[in-house]
Symmetry: C3
Subunit: 682 residues, 3 copies
């Protein structure tokens, strides 16, 4: 591949030849190259340019552009244009449209208003992709393909008639009979029993807005499956035509998609779209939010869970905004660099800025690119040039992987199940926020680890400690993998409400915590949400910290050992934490959602906190992220604040930007970054 | 009847045989009986179990269950399953569905998604009820029937085409001609005049969401009538088949139903569904709400207005919650007992817990019963056993009526009229809150008294003082009944805005207060809402208290006597209260909405405050409720707080739980209750 | 004309003969005349009274009323009844209805539920207007006509199929070809390109609710055009039948209408509906809103921009409220007078109170008139009598124009464009609020000046200083007019974001500020929204004041002169204000939205602040408004507060109410007003 090949970090930008006078193309590409931009992504919203009427294809426009690109020496990523069907298409085939839950069709005029399951739409998308890949796939400047644009952005629920038809097929295949469907969905409750397949639908309007949760769980799995099928349909076509070494990707991370599956069957790697300036949007800003743009490190951690080394297809370079909503300030001096380094520190070897020049028309007139409308040289373009110098200096890092000894386990069944489960969602949100923020504050790099059908204990063993916060749904197979991980020396931490549901989201009648009762040595006789007029504290040895949202009362069973108790609230004195020695490792069952105090206590117990503390000391407001390659650690320190940060380098290391050895006190400017090189074996 | 027969207080529970392996039935019933539960309600969501396809009936399932029940000695209440029509029914007959005001149909998947007026649905409901009652009505274990489930819960507005057709019929019957309809609805305003019956609809979407208020009033009366017809249709069928002594009830109290009518024509008594834990729902909790779960005493007062002695069909026993909304903590130690005693103190002789074991699937996986999913013994089951001991000790109270010397008059025409009248609603809400809370704080038991066509002065005479806060609509007949009440010694208090509307909700052109001008001796030349930047105080003799929301300027007319004036605000110096001696009693017209200060002043004037103060002193945070039977008062003291309460028993009384005589200081634990026995004639 | 003829100030009221027993008519009119009310407006919601069935006309009802009016000597304004189509009409022709954006039709039952573009509705409206004007136009008591009622009130967006059809026609006429439409709308963005006219619609539901902004701009222009066509259609008919000297007007000012156009082609003058009591609505009240009812002076300034001398068709006389929303207190003693004088001070020579007697039925039972339901004499009627005395004393003012040396330029293209442009809306709102409030506080009368195709420099020259806050859209022609204004000595102030869009709302690729770059001598290399965690201050000579919302960095170009810089925020030290000497005048480009500090600085610079300060001193809480006639200034001072205000008259002037000479200290009661007479040439 021409990017992500371990040789260098590449810069790119998103370009829309159709938005500009052709006379500007040559100069635009040459200015890009002059500041280090070597790749452009094009065409992802340009269906009509190639197929202006059904079945009529015209390749001239992009042929002309690719000629210019080749001449200039610019590399090109082609996007398939299926996120914006032509007006002629949706007007003729309204069955291609997505709809709200009440059946109101989403109409032409924005983007992503189609559904994945309309047979007509699949066919028409197949046609355009076939023609594009067939015609442009062999062009020398083309280095890769992007499928659609931001799958499941804007809408990730689908309620068209095509979706109901496909959902029925999906369920027939899954369950075989209505008897099994009724059993799986607990349809006897409130007399929902189905007696004919035609009575089965995607969720529809109900009196109180509630929907059978087991149906919903299957529905979200179905949406994920539909999205993946749509992507695979395109990937299969593209692969027929592309040159050796060219790649297939898709951009962004959105809800209701199993990206683990997508990575396995359709794409070579994921490219994330990173817009940290949302943290400063005038409509969403909160003084109380400590993490702000630093929260995007959480998204990058998710991205890395799909592809260890990944790309950024859209890296924010200007103020974001639509005419109809969202209003951001322009990135401040240094923030573009900061956000670029944030991406690279987490594993990006390709960073493509959105977009070259700000569009002068349409919904996104306020979604600013590197350049403003006029295209005149500006501060942001200059900053790109400076970034190019830095990434050139970072060249040797390419291909190096992010290092983390702490993992947080996730899986899509629980993510989908929790989404409409307001009890579980509240618990999960609290814990995920506490885990991420505590890792950040304590400078403890972490990974998200998706537990799929293919995950084995060997995939987990590299983590000293794994949190699996609240897997309501947990299979015996998964429990066995986790047990093996612990047996081989791992530390495994469950939070409250683990393992109380089966694969359909139905609650187990076994003693809690169900399938992990033996593994954890815990027994949960009672549980409760923490009442709004109560504060519950936990004491674990010397440590005291607050519980949150929910409390399982955790007794010992078998070889479990009582570690901590609640010391306030209605259940003061009851058990809060049980551990069990499992082989060379340990399993914990903690009865509440995680707070910063709880996370710190577990990290301390596992000696996993601040692993680089011996050779670098940085203030809480800075992030530490480390990439490792061939026995070398590259330590990024990122200052998200607008004031200087003092860091102390306790051993001599090399400043990658300058190539100089540094040690002792080092001042990072506001929004400043540094990358320090250090052997792993010292 | 086997419950509510004045012999004992009976415990029950809600059970769903269809949710569990049949192998569990026998053990479940035997565990219930072991802790004092003698009645189960079943079948109210089980249509498909009896009629799995249209016209195909199968009685086996519940025959088997009733066999087990009879064998175990368990009594059974059968619910008709009409709240959850089968999927085959609504798929085939979508005209049975209810709809939103914009016509969007509410679909299969929750409950209560049907309308009462579809002829097809009435017929199909008649069929299932006829078959159920015919088959199971004679079973020896069956002691009564519940019609539907929570009529008008979830949705109490109906906008289907069937409803429009029925509304037209209702109006044709009521008005005879469009001329009279136009006159009644003031249709000349904004040119709403109807010239053909087919132009008349239930409310539909309008530009600003407003609807003709007189049409709305008729529409709500029509909904109430539809609900009552639907209930009566079922009751009439059931009565044909049931054994002598078996009863008919329905559960819950919801909007847009005239329960006075229902009690007179369909049900033997009402059974309320009491869920005080909503006060601690994580989504609704407010620190500022002083009354919290104590507010359910207001609902129980409403229940008592339907049936002096009533049942609780669903008494909360666990945390409430749906997967899609609502999240409550588990009732704390003692709260189940507290809420049970709250029900009993207000007149419940049957208390049935919702539900035996928490359902492991469906929307209500978080609506916890006595037992959790596993069914293992737990704290709440133990508390039921303790409650059983207490209600056994209270046995002699059964049939005794709640005692109140203060009444608050209500009527459905004003309730319906005020609902969409935002001016009146604000006034009414303020006063009803102040009345209830002040009675609670001053330990002054009160009744709600519904003024119906059948109510005579003799029904009112037992109250020393009656508040009729703001009857905008008031007929001459009603005024005459009230005058007679006063003439015979009663004290009658009207608040602002009384009697300014006619029976159609149109405003009178008479001098205000219209039909009660003479009765009250009041004349109201002007009125105003209290401006948001004003505070208005009232001086009445020695007392000073705030007015609220609205002020009528109240002058004297005829034999009226000026009692109080506004002393601040734009109308300082103007009249606020006029009284008139009527026979042996007195009538007051007070020009504002009621505040705590105003209510206290009227209670003081009537010497009606804290009627048991001479023999018991309790802190404000405890409720006093008294049931009387055969010359004995049973005084309940209920501590809603989580801290102990000291009460002082000023005369010797018997503690009913222990059978011991007590006097002097008595400490109630947090959530503690006591019931003290005292002769009325002492 | 019998009103607005420069001879006197006339009082009127809104009367609904169809709401009352005919027996009341004579007495009502005679009571009106007794307190000085000489005009009634009638019939605007009475379609059925004249056309009870399609094509069936009956003139009797209003013939009878007009007979009574003529006999009594009452003048009459007839309203066309097209705002409330009959039930028979919308039931038979549902295509006449307006709809929500999702296509849900707005149904009969409120008002204004029709669309302007249905050919059937235009025809039926034409018929009723033709018949009304034909029949009643010649009656001697009739003095004028009101078209419809409050055009674009309730709904000012239209989404019916008739609107789509008309929108297509509008666009075909405007653009001629789809190529030009696609170009104008930037349809290449997100592949919106249209290939057939039938693919073009009014805005429809989209996934995220966004709509192409250029389409939206055309859509709002189209709505305005539709409204104006509908009005003109009626006006053209009416003019055929009315007597010489009779006038045509319409009432209220609402969104999406170009009133400059309407004034030029359909109406003789505008009549505003003034309801300042909304400031005290219980649902909208805010302690923080300093201006409250004084804000209506802003609306009156808008009214004056349509007609220098205008009428008030509905002047609030009682509490406002619908049954379904809105709840106001009764106007306080003096407020009716205050609000009447507010209208007159701004240029009203006709003030008609809404309404005579409060309607006893319908949605507006709480929209109070002068009289309450009973019609008995009351405080408000007495206040009308007092007002009549005052306006009689003010007789000589009639025809005198409001005097302002400060203007704020507006235009409909920018108003429409900003409405769905959330960036621009925020900027515009900030500045308009600051401009109005600062003028009020500094006692600096101002005008709104609409820049239309017909506006020439000569129309602007009377203003010493003109603010054109943020004209995103600005044509070369407009820039030339403005340049001429400056060249002849005017001071012209632009705020940030001026001139960055073209006539389609597309952004210019020229250097900013585009078409006014040369005129202003400014160059804007960068810009940003002010981040929510930043405060930006500006220093201009001695003055320091806050910027707001947005900052353009403003450099000099050509002969521009740097006047001010930002002194805090991310761009401290950058340019904030550039001026350029243009002929005898000066042009400023200010880089932010206006704050009070900024406005004060510009007024000071132009010596335009508090122009009457030499002869009268009044506290900030009072408004000064001046009308001029034949060399005499009539200075109104209006006290909006409920406490007395001391004003100091520095020269002898005549108090118009009393006719006495006054000077020195003068105390205005709470809500008090005074009008002082002073020669202009002193």
């Amino acid at each position: 591949m021409q990017i992500l090949n371990g040789e260098k970090i590449t810069l790119g930008t998103c370009y829309y030849p159709e938005h500009w006078d052709e006379a500007l193309w040559r100069e635009d590409l040459s200015r890009m190259l002059a500041c280090g931009i070597e790749v452009v992504r094009i065409a992802e919203f340009a269906w009509n340019k190639i197929e202006p009427a059904e079945g009529v294809y015209n390749y001239d426009f992009f042929d002309r552009f690719l000629d210019v690109a080749e001449e200039a020496g610019m590399k090109v990523i082609m996007g398939t244009p299926t996120a914006t069907p032509p007006a002629w298409l949706t007007e003729k085939y309204p069955e291609c449209l997505n709809a709200g839950i009440d059946g109101t069709l989403y109409r032409h005029g924005l983007r992503r208003h189609y559904n994945y399951n309309s047979p007509v739409y699949r066919k028409l998308c197949g046609n355009i992709v076939e023609h594009m890949a067939g015609h442009y796939g062999g062009r020398s400047c083309v280095i890769g393909w992007q499928i659609d644009n931001e799958l499941n952005c804007e809408a990730n629920e689908f309620y068209s008639e095509s979706d109901t038809a496909a959902f029925r097929e999906y369920l027939q295949k899954k369950y075989g009979s209505l008897e099994k469907l009724n059993e799986a969905w607990g349809a006897v409750f409130w007399n929902q029993t189905y007696t004919d397949w035609k009575e089965v639908y995607v969720p529809r309007p109900t009196v109180s807005g509630g929907v059978n949760p087991h149906q919903t769980l299957d529905y979200l799995r179905f949406i994920s499956e539909s999205t993946n099928e749509f992507a695979r349909m395109q990937a299969d076509i593209i692969r027929k035509y592309i040159k050796e070494g060219d790649f297939i990707t898709t951009n962004g991370l959105f809800g209701h998609v199993d990206y683990q599956k997508m990575a396995g069957e359709s794409i070579d790697f994921i490219t994330y779209d990173s817009y940290p300036n949302f943290a400063y949007d005038l409509n969403n800003y909160s003084d109380k939010d400590e993490m702000k743009d630093r929260k995007w490190s959480r998204n990058l951690t998710e991205t890395r869970a799909v592809s260890r080394i990944f790309g950024i297809m859209e890296q924010q370079s200007g103020a974001g905004g639509w005419n109809s909503r969202m209003m951001q300030s322009t990135p401040r001096r240094g923030q573009m660099t900061l956000w670029t380094m944030q991406s690279i520190a987490h594993g990006a070897d390709f960073v493509s800025y959105f977009r070259w020049r700000t569009c002068t028309f349409g919904t996104e007139i306020y979604w600013h690119g590197i350049l403003d409308y006029s295209g005149r040289d500006n501060r942001r373009l200059a900053e790109v040039g400076d970034i190019y110098k830095k990434v050139t200096a970072l060249r040797e890092i390419a291909g190096g992987e992010y290092e983390a000894a702490v993992g947080v386990i996730k899986d899509y069944d629980n993510i989908f199940d929790a989404e409409y489960d307001k009890w579980h969602e509240r618990i999960e949100k609290q814990s995920q926020k506490a885990l991420f923020e505590t890792m950040q504050k304590t400078h403890t790099p972490m990974d998200y680890v998706y537990l799929t059908e293919k995950t084995g204990a060997e995939d987990l063993q590299k983590y000293r400690i794994l949190f699996y916060p609240h897997p309501a749904i947990l299979s015996g197979r998964q429990a066995a993998v986790l047990e093996e991980y612990a047996a081989k020396g791992g530390i495994l931490v469950f939070g409250c409400r683990s393992a109380y549901k089966d694969w359909n989201g139905k609650c187990t009648m076994e003693k809690l915590p169900g399938v992990i009762a033996e593994l954890t040595g815990a027994d949960i006789p009672e549980y409760t949400a923490i009442a709004p007029d109560r504060e519950v504290m936990v004491r674990w040895g010397e440590e005291t910290f607050p519980a949150a949202v929910f409390t399982d009362l955790v007794d010992c069973a078998g070889t479990g050992k009582q570690e901590a108790v609640y010391i306030s609230g209605d259940d003061a004195g009851m058990g809060a934490l049980v551990s069990r020695q499992v082989g060379e490792g340990k399993v914990y069952y903690y009865g509440s959602a995680f707070t910063e105090g709880a996370v710190r206590a577990f990290l301390k117990e596992a000696c996993a906190e601040n692993p680089y503390g011996n050779f670098i000391a940085v203030p809480e407001k800075c992030e530490i992220a480390v990439r490792v390659k061939e026995g070398i650690r590259y330590i990024f320190v990122l200052n998200y604040s607008d004031t200087p940060a003092e860091i102390t380098v306790l051993e001599k290391m090399r400043d990658m930007y300058t190539g100089k050895e540094v040690s002792g006190s080092l001042i990072l400017e506001g929004y400043g970054t540094v990358c320090l090189r250090r052997s792993c074996d010292r």
